[in-house]
Symmetry: C2
Subunit: 415 residues, 2 copies
Amino acid sequence: MPSMIEGNAAIGQSGGPTAVINQSLVGVVMGLRARGACRPGHPIRKVLGMRHGVRGLVHDELVDLSEFEHERLERLASTPSAGLGSTRDKPDRAYCERIFKACERHDIRYFFYIGGNDSSDTCRIVNELSNKAGYELRCFHVPKTVDNDLVGSDHTPGFPSAARFVAMACRADFMDNISLPGIKINVIMGRHAGFLTAASALARRSDRFEGSTDGPQLIYVPEIPFDTERFVQDVAKIYDAKGRCHIAVSEGICDEEGQSIGATLIRGGQTDDHGNVQLSGSGVLGDALSNLLKEKLTPPGGKPVRVRADTFGYIQRCWPEQSRIDATEARGAGRYAAELALEGDLDGSVAIERVSPIGGSQPYAAQFKRLDLSAVAAKTRHMPDYFLDGHNNVSEMFLDYCAPLIGKLPSFERL
Amino acid sequence: MPSMIEGNAAIGQSGGPTAVINQSLVGVVMGLRARGACRPGHPIRKVLGMRHGVRGLVHDELVDLSEFEHERLERLASTPSAGLGSTRDKPDRAYCERIFKACERHDIRYFFYIGGNDSSDTCRIVNELSNKAGYELRCFHVPKTVDNDLVGSDHTPGFPSAARFVAMACRADFMDNISLPGIKINVIMGRHAGFLTAASALARRSDRFEGSTDGPQLIYVPEIPFDTERFVQDVAKIYDAKGRCHIAVSEGICDEEGQSIGATLIRGGQTDDHGNVQLSGSGVLGDALSNLLKEKLTPPGGKPVRVRADTFGYIQRCWPEQSRIDATEARGAGRYAAELALEGDLDGSVAIERVSPIGGSQPYAAQFKRLDLSAVAAKTRHMPDYFLDGHNNVSEMFLDYCAPLIGKLPSFERL
């Protein structure tokens, strides 16, 4: 084992929580403890949890996880949302100085941060400043985001569970749509990347495209510019043929100029500390699209077409049913970060690499690898072209990519 | 066995679907078949399913369920939403004449209709007109509604499963709220009755009120006039103390004059054939309350308070996880209606009577009974005073009433 600096480890959670972010927390804690951390003679003396990420760290709000009972950790792992509390703070230089002082005060030499691309950037900045300051601080980013928008990974922990929820909700909601026909819009999370909205396609039965007219029949992701006229035409075509239409729309859809359709519709919209406009926690986009369709598709003097819009909202990221693979991988990602630290790595971001081919009969398999922090930080991954099919559908390859991640869904009987 | 008229049975589903409405459908079909219906010599020759309720019946859109395989029926029973299709049509006299003609054409003498209070009224009208016309038609109403607003029953099939979803979603969403604090509003279904919104209280841990500050801390039901000023004060009090607040609001909340807060806010709102304004499938109420709180609680010149609103929407009634008791009772209600018909009853509505005391250590127990159609039809049950605690909470008795219906929820670990 290469020489390890003596001190404490600290772990924090950042950004929007997921169903499995506590799996990663428990993975780091158990990974460190399994290799002797927190026991006499080991260079890592304590494992400290930051309350609400770096915000808690700078305010000395820390919880000692060194002695936490195994069973309590296991219960925590199956609990959705960030057990330590989360934050959207993005440290600038002044903030990072405060982080260093907190690290010095608490003798923190191992810094684990679980989060998305904003959080990996926090990790990178803290790491750079610690290097410049000559304070030896080893920084590890553990990936997490329901948006699945981290570069360098096949997918991100948190996405499979959220995707499972979305697919299940759309499968059930489509049954509702055929039972009481009309036009139904479901607005799905994903500010810049359409992966979670695309996962709605898994709601369709396994016979997939050929002859299948299962919902959602139309899927709109942020990667393809959204044209409202074309949207109305798409819906009209299906509605005219079937008297109903089931639609999945990303909250992040943008027009040709890259202007967010949702953000421009939100009066008094809030921005967070990263300058992002609030898209979740509001029904404005769904309602606007719904009003548009009512207006355009109702015949003059005729009975208004029935249009309903649901915005799935926060349940997508906190619904407590974890996808089996997601639970395993989120735990493993935390444990892998702990191993990197214990084996002498100075910093890095954990990534998931799929080692089985997408599609075909081979069972799904993946492994972890270490990436440089700078390779991941503040970058956004989008859906590649080969996951898309035209402007309103996903490809067969995307279905093959996503299906093993979410696991089997219950199949419904139709008369 | 009293004399039974020879002919066919028809069964239909009406109104908003639920997670267990197909259990009741299967209960009627299996209940009739188990006692010999559809076999040579039995007075009931066929069991016909109406496509989209009475709308399908008058258009001769019927499906023969007499020979449906047992396994397919069992799969259908665990499928959410109305397997036969549903309708919101409410027959007037002219419509009912068409129903009679359809019944004559198809030799229907046993009419089973699964639905809520609008649907029981349909049953009553059809029954009255058939009596006047001298056409012997035996009409049975099988109860269904997530709103739990049928009179004469302890509760209604469909409610426990929806209540389970609401409680689970609120329990998980509260974890999200403590993780990234702010004000969170969840808008829950229930046009006139607050039962489903009240079920959000089951999200709190079992220690209940004493010292517990689990969300939702504030619950607003349609039974109590909603005062926006008082609402802002309620929220401010909790937000000032904790920096966060978790709120459950019924879509059906009304002001002192009985004007729906949601309906008055919806521009271009649609009404259905029963004159009801569309409240579901829109985020307007949540967004309006959210904007109100942002405006009133943000200090002058200060950082806007973080307020988010989710409208749970249709997932509440179609989420495919059935409460165990709900599945059993919905099936049983269908079977009981079949038995009433087979034992010579002329008409009636099935009700659930709880035979165990609410609260205490005795396990939950219930039985079915027959009510007159007129006792149930077009009447709305509201939450009684003893289920409420002040203007923004539910009573201990409501928790005791609701807890056995939804079953055990997963318990979450907190640091």
